[in-house]
């Protein structure tokens, strides 16, 4: 059976395997034998176990990479990078270099890459190097008539579903994290290493990674704003809204009415006579969307509204409108967001306990 490569995304802080990797491995099984590809430092035993649990038959990593490896036969004796001197290599092979090497060596049926910023760059470079076709941001990947992958994308502001496949080279497909729910299928992976010569292309260097302050962002420049109105109903319910905002890394705002009721400070009022915000996402909860309120948030790129009156004007602006009791929906939403933020949190998690979660990010 042909192999399908899945590039593994790990938490940069502690190296834990992210949920996207488990989702990619789940998808990879539909076309062939899932093979996990781990760039950068070698994965620890814990990471390898997680990849095995989601079906990775093989785990490939860089021979030159740092950190010890648990088990598995070394495919090549850890040789220094060819061509270059054997001194510490300032530029270890990139994910692109590793995937390029493995594509030539394993002739995979497809290469799946998480659709993150980093993944997009890797996929773009890889497609050029392999002279392959590329499909980005797939929301699903299914076997086509010939068994090869057909990717589904949502295009033109989400209004069309486009089915396409790659007709030249090894298919390179970047996949949205929500494309699949990770389903465990435990195997014991064979760990292999590859000696990869880095491409001689100058690179950007990361000189610092300043911690992003975990605090709530200010309203003016917030990427996401969660706003509450009269419909929230009580101070206690508003506290749940604030928790949802925290879970999303969002700023909290309110309608004038919410401010009058003392649920948000006056500075956080949005509207004609308050703040004007232009976030990427405006989540309006129990807000009717009066003209005056709309004046302050019309610039939002995406609007999601929750309210109990389907006639409320806010729904005309909303990309997604949910009619229902906001006081019941917010706690459920909070729980849902928290569960999705835990790495590889599939439904089967509770039965297996050999997993360290970093729930608190």
């Amino acid at each position: 059976m042909a192999k399908v490569l899945a590039l593994v995304d790990r938490d940069p802080r502690d190296g834990t395997v992210l949920r996207s990797a488990c989702a990619l491995l789940t998808l990879a099984r539909r076309f062939g034998e899932p093979v996990a590809v781990v760039g950068g430092d070698r994965p620890d035993a814990e990471a390898i176990r997680t990849l095995g649990r989601f079906g990775a038959v093989e785990v490939w990593c860089l021979a030159e990479a740092g950190a010890a490896l648990g088990s598995g036969p070394a495919d090549q004796p850890a040789a220094p990078a060819p061509a270059l001197g054997s001194e510490p290599d300032p530029d270890p092979a990139t994910d692109t270099d590793l995937l390029h090497h493995l594509a030539a060596r394993l002739h995979p049926a497809a290469i799946l890459i998480p659709a993150t910023h980093r993944g997009q760059e890797t996929a773009a470079r890889l497609a050029v190097r392999l002279d392959s076709g590329i499909i980005t941001n797939a929301v699903d990947v299914l076997p086509g008539p010939d068994g090869g992958p057909v990717a589904i994308q949502r295009c033109l502001a989400g209004s069309y579903l486009v089915e396409s496949s790659v007709v030249r080279g090894t298919p390179v497909i970047t996949v949205r994290p929500e494309a699949a729910v990770p389903e465990p299928r435990p195997v014991t992976p064979v760990v292999r290493t590859a000696g990869v010569e880095p491409a001689k292309i100058p690179r950007a260097r990361i000189v610092a990674s300043p911690e992003i302050v975990a605090d709530r962002p200010g309203l003016d420049h917030a990427d996401i704003v969660v706003a509450g109105g009269r419909g929230i109903g009580s101070r206690a319910a508003f506290a749940v809204l604030a928790e949802v905002a925290d879970a999303l890394g969002a700023a909290v705002a309110g309608s004038h009415t919410a401010a009058e009721l003392g649920w948000v400070p006056r500075e956080a009022r949005v509207g004609l006579t308050g703040k004007t915000v232009q976030p990427r996402l405006y989540l309006a909860c129990g807000v009717s969307g009066s003209v005056r309120h709309r004046a302050g948030m019309q610039g939002a790129k995406t609007v999601v509204a929750i309210g109990d009156d389907p006639q409320a004007p806010i729904f005309k602006l909303a990309d997604l409108g949910v009619v229902g009791d906001v006081r019941a929906i917010l706690p459920a939403l909070l729980a849902e967001i928290r569960s999705r933020k835990t790495p590889d949190g599939g439904p089967a998690e509770s039965t297996e306990s050999d997993q360290t979660h970093s729930t608190d990010s």
């Binding site: 940069p12 910023h117 980093r118 997009q120 760059e121 996929a123 773009a124 470079r125 497609a127 002279d131 076709g133 590329i134 499909i135 980005t136 941001n137 929301v139 949502r154 295009c155 033109l156 502001a157 989400g158 209004s159 069309y160 579903l161 486009v162 089915e163 396409s164 496949s165 790659v166 030249r168 994290p177 929500e178 292309i201 690179r203 950007a204 260097r205 990361i206 000189v207 990674s209 300043p210 911690e211 992003i212 996402l281 999601v304 929750i306 389907p310 729904f315 990309d319 997604l320 949910v322 009619v323 229902g324 009791d325 019941a328 459920a332 939403l333 849902e336 967001i337 999705r340 933020k341």
Partner: protein, 259 residues
């Protein structure tokens, strides 16, 4: 110092766009404009130009005849000259072919920096900048929120999904900038008139030495089989049970990459 800014001409209202019979985006049926994302790239080029004396800013586009309007907009904002790659054989190019053509144009122009938007409003692949960098064998700095240059290096800051990164690379390099990099200026009224007198060159594939068989719909490395229109996304979810509503909202947030 030479800066090339990529400027794409895209449909104004994405919601009105349809697909043509050959399953390419039908650009003739809608009004198009310089895409917002690329205005940020033009803005960054002009900010660099304001801080040093030797900067030449060239706006580059590839697209049908109407795409020259994107160049005119960039020129009105302050770019010095424009280059339009125009050739009937380009219809239906995929991302690898687009990057092949744009790379050839950049090479012909010569550059210290290529500035792009992060993603096309229509294709939304956000791969052209990195493909270009790969073809030009230079560093790519994608999705930058801030940038500045010194004598021979470019420095940038970006949010890499929860962690921040400060990056540096030697020039030449390709950068894509986000809409957090700084609001684009409004063109002055006189600038719009002046822009008509600025030089716009039109290059064909022959000018770039590219074989027409390597580009266009027939050379595309991906094939679209089917386009369907799902229920409109402005859907209102009627009164459902709270857990179901929460799942719907979370799905939507994940899909739009807010989660």
């Amino acid at each position: 110092m030479k800066i090339v800014v990529l400027t794409k001409h895209v449909p104004q209202a994405m919601g009105e766009v349809t697909y043509a019979d050959d399953l390419t985006v039908d650009r003739s049926a809608v009004r198009c404009r310089l895409q917002d994302g690329d205005e940020y790239a033009v803005e960054q080029a002009l900010r660099i130009a304001a801080r040093r004396l030797d900067v030449q800013v060239t706006a580059l586009t590839m697209g049908p005849a109407g795409a020259v309007a994107a160049l005119r907009s960039a020129l009105a904002l302050g770019a010095d000259e424009g280059v339009h790659v125009l050739d009937d054989a380009l219809h239906g190019c995929d991302a690898p072919a687009t990057s092949l053509v744009l790379a050839a144009a950049c090479r012909r122009l010569g550059f210290d920096l290529v500035l792009c938007g992060t993603a096309s409003a229509d294709g939304a692949m956000s791969v052209v900048p990195a493909m270009l960098a790969e073809r030009l064998a230079v560093p790519a700095l994608c999705q930058c929120d801030r940038l500045h240059t010194d004598e021979d290096r470019v420095h940038a800051h970006r949010d890499a999904g929860g962690t921040a990164e400060d990056l540096t690379a030697t020039m030449p390099a390709v950068l894509s900038v986000t809409d957090r990099s700084g609001e684009p200026r409004y063109p002055r009224f006189e600038a719009i008139a002046e822009a008509r007198h600025k030089l716009v060159r039109t290059w064909t594939l022959a000018d770039l030495g590219i074989d027409t068989r390597r580009v266009g719909l027939t050379a595309a490395a991906t094939a679209v089989h089917r386009v369907t229109r799902p229920a409109p996304r402005t859907a209102t979810v009627p009164g459902t049970d709270p857990a179901e509503a929460a799942t719907r909202i979370a799905d939507f947030l994940t899909e739009r990459q807010f989660l």
